[in-house]
Amino acid sequence: MNHENGGESYMAINTKIAAAVAAGFLVAAPLAQAQDAPVKIGVVTFLSGPAAGPFGVPSRNAAELTIEMLNNGKVPAPYQQKGLGGAKIEMTLIDEAGSSTVQVTEFRNLVQRAGVDVVVGYISSGNCLAIAPVAEELKKLTVFFDCGTPRIFEDNSYKYVFRTAAHATSDSVGAALYAKAVKPNAKKFGGINQNYAWGQDSWGDFSAAMQLLVPGSSVTTSQMPKLFAGQYGAEISALLTSGSDVIHSSFWDGDLEAFILQAGPRGLFKKSAVILTTGETAMFKLAKQIPDGTIIGARGPYGVFAPDNELNRWYRKEFEDRYSVPPNYASYQMTQAILGVKAAWEKAQAANGGKRPDIDQVIAAFENSTFPSPAGDIRMPLGKGHQAVTESVYGMTKVVNGQMTVTNVKRFPADQVNPPEGVKSTDWIKGGMKK
């Protein structure tokens, strides 16, 4: 047999085949590795500073617990598959403390140096506003778990950015609906909120909603101390002399705790109905200092307001067993964000024939999705499918047998406290909060 026919030797062909096979292995090996390679998630939350205690540490604990349980396949259905679609999750933890400029640098480091696949994080609205365009520039899937300002998706449109918690409008409108329900004759209302995006947006929405819901009502005073000011003596006097029937505060972190400590002994909670939209985070630590009848929220159906479902029962038990404290709303929101990523990832993987999905496939699966969480089913209908909505829940504190509880709980459906898709919150409220 002449192997020299055609001008190409048998040996040469074999060499080419061997080279092709070898090249195939070379290409296939990383692909096979990529399929099982760990998914790196960057988790950003406050590990220092005044927000660390009430928000950062509980959310970090939630991230560690959730990722560990997911990796071990110990989360109830539909999250029983290990990791993300079978791939182990590796967490890189970053401190959110510092300016927005610092956070942008940290984000770039996470993406460009640590090479994370997904970033889950951010409590501060200021940080979320700064990070969103950078996430878009770097084309990195970024999930905000807690920050509240509605401006993120109302002022801009993002492909790579999602938020799995409801924005501040639902908290503010829910607070106004609750105030009207429990104080129907209240005509004068005041506020004390932190002077930055979260505080300003919260107060703006609350005051607009109150004026709409209670015709003839008026604002007595709007106090806007700087973030982490700590001393509120004069502001409390201003609220006391304002004659307000209802006082709204979206204070959080150490500011919320300092406000409760200073306002309680001065009788503010007795003189006016005080609404603390994030009060759930302080209700156990300051059970002795929060008077009965204080209206508290948890930024959605979290903590004491969470529904009784299998995921919630699992979550509360595991969290309390490990950390000896109940999970607060920041914990719930962190777990919710990670579960949202898992749901989208695995949906995309299933659509991709079981192969590891690329980021565009995950984004497509995430948009407009609904996924179960310890807080119930979370829908993502706003911000072109990137912004979650939840019901808004408020209740009144009451100490029973030495234990802090909530009574008179009212739940406002998500569609009642959120604008429709494509409508700005402020316009929606001014337009009569029509569904």
């Binding site: 403390a97 006391l240 002399t241 002994p265």
Partner: protein, 298 residues
């Protein structure tokens, strides 16, 4: 009428808090010419020590009224242990350096101490609400103030008047004034200037720690609480004139009252008003209200 009373009382309470924190800063600058950023750390350390120690002792059944002594003891412990260590161990070797270099060293120490606080106490907040409500409350018209707030005014008065009396009426104070006027001449007169530096730094730091310890019952004691106070303290002593005791008192009163007026009548200006006052004072008195003409050495 309630509002006018509130403006005055709130202003005085806030001024007292500021003065207690700022007086040590101005003392240290007056004597040692150090812009001491560790002042914020001593404030925070005083608060942490007071909150953790008082909380622990109250939990063990300590007589609640003794908590005030524990608050002061906590501040004393922090200042007596840490201040000499910093002054003798680090600052002493830096006195020949430029003032800016020494300020940067105190900034580095501030950052180190901030992390040390996190290592020792963690990041979870500490509360000791008991001492705040223990003294009852006082009513001014419709307004209720915890008596503890008046106690803070008393502490500020004792701190200021005590320091003024020490400086003006005692031998130690007069020697210290000599050191303030001219350290070199003081040395030539046989005054142990280094000893006065140690005493001044320790006492100035004690005032910061006392400020933190007695603020602890009114706030959530959290990391970075020393940052806010250092900014406000600088505003106070810049308005009053750096190194001036009456300047610190007047500066604190101006800041406290202006802030209070703003909160009651124009809350939207609150963030800005302190720095507006500072800018206006510096525009007309670049070295502060109580600065004196200084002889220039040739």
């Amino acid at each position: 009428m309630d509002k006018i009373i509130a403006v005055f009382i709130d202003g005085i309470i806030y001024s007292s808090w500021l003065f207690t924190a700022a007086i040590g800063l101005t003392l240290i600058y007056g004597v040692m010419k150090i812009l001491n950023l560790t002042h914020g750390s001593f404030y925070a350390l005083g608060a942490y020590m007071a909150a953790s120690l008082t909380g622990a002792l109250l939990a063990k059944g300590m007589e609640p009224m003794l908590s005030y002594a524990v608050l002061f003891g906590s501040a004393l412990f922090v200042a007596l242990v840490l201040a000499p260590l910093i002054e003798r161990g680090i600052l002493k070797f830096m006195y020949s350096k430029d003032e800016v270099v020494i300020m940067l060293i105190t900034y580095a120490l501030f950052l180190i101490l901030e992390d040390a606080i996190k290592l020792i106490w963690g990041v979870s907040p500490y509360f000791i609400a008991e001492p705040y409500g223990l003294l009852g409350s006082i009513e001014f018209g419709d307004l209720i103030y915890p008596t503890y707030n008046l106690f803070l005014i008393f502490i500020a008065l004792i701190s200021g008047l005590g320091l003024a009396w020490t400086l003006m009426k005692t031998r130690v104070g007069k020697l210290l004034l000599t050191v303030i006027h001219d350290p070199e001449v003081s040395r030539s007169l046989g005054i142990n200037v280094n000893k006065f530096y140690l005493i001044t730094f320790t006492f100035g730091s004690l005032l910061a720690a006392v400020g933190g310890a007695f603020t602890a019952p009114t706030v959530s004691v959290v990391p970075a609480m020393g940052v806010e106070i250092i900014v406000l303290s600088f505003a106070v002593i810049v308005i009053g004139g750096m190194g001036s005791l009456p300047g610190a008192a007047v500066g604190a009163c101006i800041v406290g009252l202006v802030r209070s007026i703003s909160i009651h009548y124009a809350p939207q200006l609150e963030l800005f008003v302190i720095y507006l006052v500072m800018a206006m004072v510096l525009a007309f008195r670049p070295r502060g209200l109580f600065s004196t003409a200084e002889a220039r050495k040739i």
